[in-house]
């Protein structure tokens, strides 16, 4: 059992304790404690397979049988609650319990195949360990074992070997209780009992990988890790997931310089023991298509250059661009890397034209982030979601955009939290959270929020209520204003949940125009003084507030910057991709720091390789603002972090930018939290909604994201690409099976799924196969789209 101490949370002191004796040790435990947990408290380990602290007890495997005085038969310790005066004897003090456990062990092994040498679980298998430590040395079972064809796919990723299953129901309970995807179930009876799916419905859950990890035998394995290594080959490093702002703790296992798998690591305050399939299975991008050496453009072609040459070329470009440069950080940077960009821009390039956002964005959003989010302490946490009376979701689909938030909200909803979502329709994710819908067409968020029912408003005023707003709100003028006003008027806590892991990190590192690290306003004299002292320059050398967002891109597109410093930016991820393309084609010199080749590096004048998460250490801030530090997996990596590259360029320019992780953490620590006045946000009025069918869209968890490339098994579990609209909308446009959506950039045709949703809205995934909205349509969330019947998907 793990006790979590949330800052400021009240730790409940149990009052109703009961006296219980286990193996002669008298103890007091809270009423309702399971015997197996009570025994753990005094260091007595009772064998178990089906028991899992985060799943409801089921007593399916019977491995934990114990003797209780006064009870006629041995009892399962994992389902037996303590009672006053209970006297428990485990296998250590009771012959009955020991024999019962040995008997169960023998039964479990009767049909278990001798697969250990070829089984992916072999070497880390609870059943194997248990059999080795307490199992019979010789089998008494000489008959034919029951066999099944092996293995079968329960999804493209998850393989099931039914011979190995001990019917503990951990996987089916996880799917039903935690993920809410009861697509697997125990079928048949007796020796034929097996885990199975419906015929035409594979186990395509976003969280399916967790079942592999909690399977106490090798019955569930992944196609991805199949036969790739044995546990004793692997070196494990605790890391943080780089895929989204949920901030999961992971364990990265590698063998001979190659990551072989990633597992969810136990962090009760954040991801508990779970993670999503993207975080678990999407890591091959780390080794494919990498930039290995600095590149310099010569006679129009990029060629490999030495580090000194590339650094000197970049330094020359930046020398000529002091005071007139733009910096795009990208949304995937660590706090340390973003901090280095931030220092480079202000202290060396003497510019404040810096932004980390590579998506739909607005000045209203930048103002909101600076005033409300940047540098704010960790107050609303995963734990507060669990205890919240009501959570209001605005423009966020947690299952797709922050899956561990989804899991925690589902857990909260099962515990009585009311979840309300402001969206065009109730998604399957919303249904799993038992969410209520505040129906709202994209772009109408402001009206929906101002017209919230009195009932929800009252609930929001209850202490502990939370409003979560997603990054999509940036596409809706006035949405952030409305959300902030709602939080202010009701007193509810307000959190911003970005999609990418590096967004909150970059924001708090000051990688946004007008902001210094820790949410310090660039215009505040004290803040300037504090930061300048740490950076070793005089405060008057810090620039005046500059451009961010579209203004920055427009300036770049005009070719007005002398130089651009661009981090990990994929051009097509920008709502205004054309502006950046124009900038790349202009005369402006571009220095790119990137892990992979992309459109920016192809157009850059100097390209520096940068390390992926396994090749550097650093910190991500999750949506709570909680630091999620991670260590370096491959110490022999030849690449350095973005901060290392920036520091080296600055050194050639006779300037100092700290480049080491420890050094930057020291500087951030020395700066401390900002206690002065924050910037104030400027209210932005809502715009009247345009007439016509509007586009609702977001990125699904599994889509064409670059960090999911080269993962065929994972991609095969993605949801099919469909267009959703209400029956009325379909009928009004004569659409039956296929709909064609047309925008300024082109048209796409998708199969239609009639969904109960707001009329005159069509939902499509933002970046899935056959539906890359920004690129294919030239439209974004809330834009008016032409729809018609027919077409070829």
């Amino acid at each position: 059992m793990t006790i979590t101490n949330e800052p400021g949370a009240q730790v409940a002191v149990p009052t109703d304790l009961v006296n219980v004796t286990i193996d002669g040790v008298e103890m007091q435990v809270p009423k309702g404690t399971l015997v197996i947990r009570a025994a753990e408290l005094i260091g007595i380990e009772i064998p178990r397979f089906c028991d899992h602290p985060l799943l409801d007890p089921v007593a399916a495997c019977r491995a934990c049988l114990i003797e209780v005085d006064g009870m006629p038969k041995p009892q399962p310790a994992c389902a037996q609650m303590v009672a006053e005066g209970m006297n428990v004897h485990t296998q250590h003090s009771s012959q009955v319990a020991a024999e019962a456990q040995a008997g169960v062990m023998e039964f479990l092994l009767v049909n278990h195949p001798l697969d250990c040498p070829v089984c992916d679980k072999g070497g880390e298998c609870p059943l194997q360990n248990q059999a080795m430590s307490v199992g019979r040395p010789e089998t008494r079972f000489t008959e034919e074992k029951r066999t099944f064809p092996k293995p079968i796919n329960v999804s493209a990723q998850i393989l099931l070997d039914r011979e190995r299953c001990v019917s503990c129901a951990r996987c089916t309970r996880f799917a039903e209780q935690i993920a809410g995807d009861p697509m697997i179930e125990l079928l048949e009876r007796g020796a034929q009992q097996q885990v199975g799916t419906a015929d035409d419905e594979p186990f395509d859950s976003y969280f399916s990988g967790n079942t592999i990890q909690i399977c106490p035998v090798g019955a569930l394995t992944s196609a991805d890790y199949r036969f790739r290594s044995r546990p004793f080959d692997l070196v494990s490093v605790p890391t943080t997931c780089e895929h989204c702002a949920s901030g999961c703790s992971l364990r990265t296992d590698y063998r001979r310089g190659v990551v072989t798998r990633r597992l969810a690591w136990d962090d009760p305050e954040v991801n508990e023991e779970w993670n999503c399939d993207k975080g678990r299975f999407a890591f091959r991008y780390q080794s494919h298509g990498r930039i290995n050496a600095p590149l310099v453009r010569e006679n129009g072609e990029l060629r490999v250059a030495s580090w000194p040459e590339a650094l000197a070329t970049a330094a020359g470009i930046f020398e000529a661009a002091r005071g007139n440069a733009g910096v795009l950080v990208g949304g995937r940077s660590t706090v340390e890397d973003a901090y280095a960009y931030s220092v480079m821009a202000r202290a060396v390039l003497a510019t404040d034209d810096i932004d980390f956002r590579v998506r739909a964005m607005s000045d209203e959003e930048a103002g909101f982030l600076a005033a409300v989010v940047a540098g704010s302490p960790v107050t609303t946490t995963y734990g507060s979601l669990e205890n919240a009376p009501l959570v209001l979701l605005v423009d966020i689909e947690p299952e797709d955009e922050s899956p561990i938030v989804f899991l925690r909200l589902r857990k909260a909803a099962r515990g009585g939290t009311r979840v309300v979502t402001v969206a065009s329709h109730l998604t399957t994710g919303s249904e799993k959270m038992n969410a209520e819908l505040v129906a709202c067409a994209p772009g109408d968020e402001v009206r929906a929020l101002t017209e919230l029912s009195a009932d929800i408003r009252t609930a929001l005023a209850v202490p502990g209520a939370v409003i979560m707003v997603g990054e999509r709100a940036a596409a809706v003028p006035g949405a952030f204003t409305a959300v902030a006003d709602l939080a202010k008027s009701t007193g509810a806590a307000l959190v911003w949940v970005p999609r990418r892991a590096g967004e909150r990190s970059a924001l708090d590192a000051g990688a946004l125009a007008g902001l210094l690290p820790g949410g310090r306003p660039l215009t505040d004299a004290t803040a300037r003084e504090e930061v300048a002292r740490i950076w070793g320059i005089s405060a008057d050398r810090l620039p005046q507030p500059g451009r961010s967002g579209r203004a920055l891109l427009e300036n770049a597109a005009r070719g007005d910057y002398a130089a651009l410093l661009i981090g990990g930016v994929e051009v097509d991820d920008l709502r205004d991709a054309d502006l950046l393309r124009a900038a790349l084609e202009s005369e402006t010199s571009v220095v790119a720091i990137s892990t992979h080749h992309n459109e920016v590096t192809a157009a850059a004048d100097v390209v520096f390789p940068s390390g992926v998460v396994t090749e550097k250490s650093g910190t991500f801030l999750d949506w709570e603002g909680r630091p999620r530090p991670f260590g370096q997996v491959f110490h022999e990596a030849l690449t350095t972090s973005d901060a290392g590259v920036i520091s080296a360029i600055a050194e050639v320019m006779d300037a100092t930018v700290e480049g080491s992780v420890t050094g930057i953490r020291g500087q951030i620590g020395a700066l401390g939290p900002w206690r002065g006045a924050r910037t104030t946000r400027t209210a932005v009025a809502a715009q009247p909604a345009a007439a016509g069918v509007r586009l609702a869209t977001w990125r699904q968890l599994l889509d064409l994201g670059l960090m999911q490339s080269d993962e065929p098994h994972l991609a095969a579990t993605a949801r099919p690409t469909v267009a959703r609209m209400s029956a009325a909308t379909a009928a009004a446009n004569g659409i039956t099976e296929i709909a064609t959506l047309t925008g300024p950039a082109g048209a796409i045709s998708l199969p239609v799924e009639i969904t109960e949703m707001v009329p005159d809205v069509v939902w499509v995934p933002m970046n899935s196969e056959g539906s890359r909205i920004y690129r294919d349509l030239g439209l974004g969330f809330g834009d008016v789209v032409q729809i018609s019947a027919g077409g070829r998907p």
Binding site: P117, V118, G123, P151, R226, F227, S229, R230, F232, D233
Partner: protein, 191 residues
């Protein structure tokens, strides 16, 4: 009788030895006359089933048992079109580093399928490290008459259990034909 001088007594030993059988073995000239004992721990061998399929399942238990960390194995999955061993898994990469190996034999004890055994071959000296890392191709047992070089399917109608039970006595023509058919299918699919 007067004592013989010490020097003469000493040469007496030499003189007597002239009439004894020589114990010196002429290596390498006469090496075939003096083979190692049958249970001598020499170079390893990766054995085959009677039909030519490999016994190694890539389980790495030999590597786990090795006290000198001399063995490196990487498993992989047999597919319908490319089968190297009966069952699901085979050893795709198999290396033994004879610079490290101490010939203790723990690896062959650990092997669950009797794939790894040791031969009597002991002439493993070389003048560089790289050549002393023996790959799978250097370690695999030679093809005997009646064997078919993998990849090829199992004997039709049998399972991996039949192989482990020793029911396979040699390759059958169907395995060759099936393999050719599979090759044709594959080429049809790819073309």
């Amino acid at each position: 009788m007067p004592e013989m001088p010490q020097v003469v007594r000493g040469f007496g030993v030499t003189f007597n030895t002239i009439f004894k059988k020589v114990v010196t073995e002429q290596y390498p000239e006469d090496s075939t006359k003096y083979p190692p004992k049958p249970r001598f721990h020499g170079r390893h061998q990766l054995n085959r089933w009677a039909d030519g399929l490999e016994k190694c399942i890539g389980c790495e238990l030999c590597a786990w048992a090795c006290p000198a960390d001399a063995i490196f194995v990487e498993g992989a999955e047999n597919s319908e079109t490319e089968r190297f061993s009966p069952g699901e898994r085979y050893g795709r990469v198999y290396q033994i580093n004879y610079v490290r190996c101490i010939f203790c034999g723990l690896c062959i004890e650990a092997c669950p399928t009797r794939a790894l055994t040791m031969t009597n071959e002991f002439e493993l000296a070389d003048n560089n490290r790289a050549d002393l890392i023996y790959e799978k191709k250097d370690l695999l047992a030679p093809m005997l008459p009646g064997m078919l070089a993998p990849p090829h399917p199992m004997v039709p109608g049998t399972t991996d259990t039949d192989y482990y039970a020793g029911k396979i006595t040699g390759a059958v023509p169907e395995q060759l034909i099936e393999q050719e058919l599979l090759d044709e299918e594959v080429s049809e699919v790819t073309s």
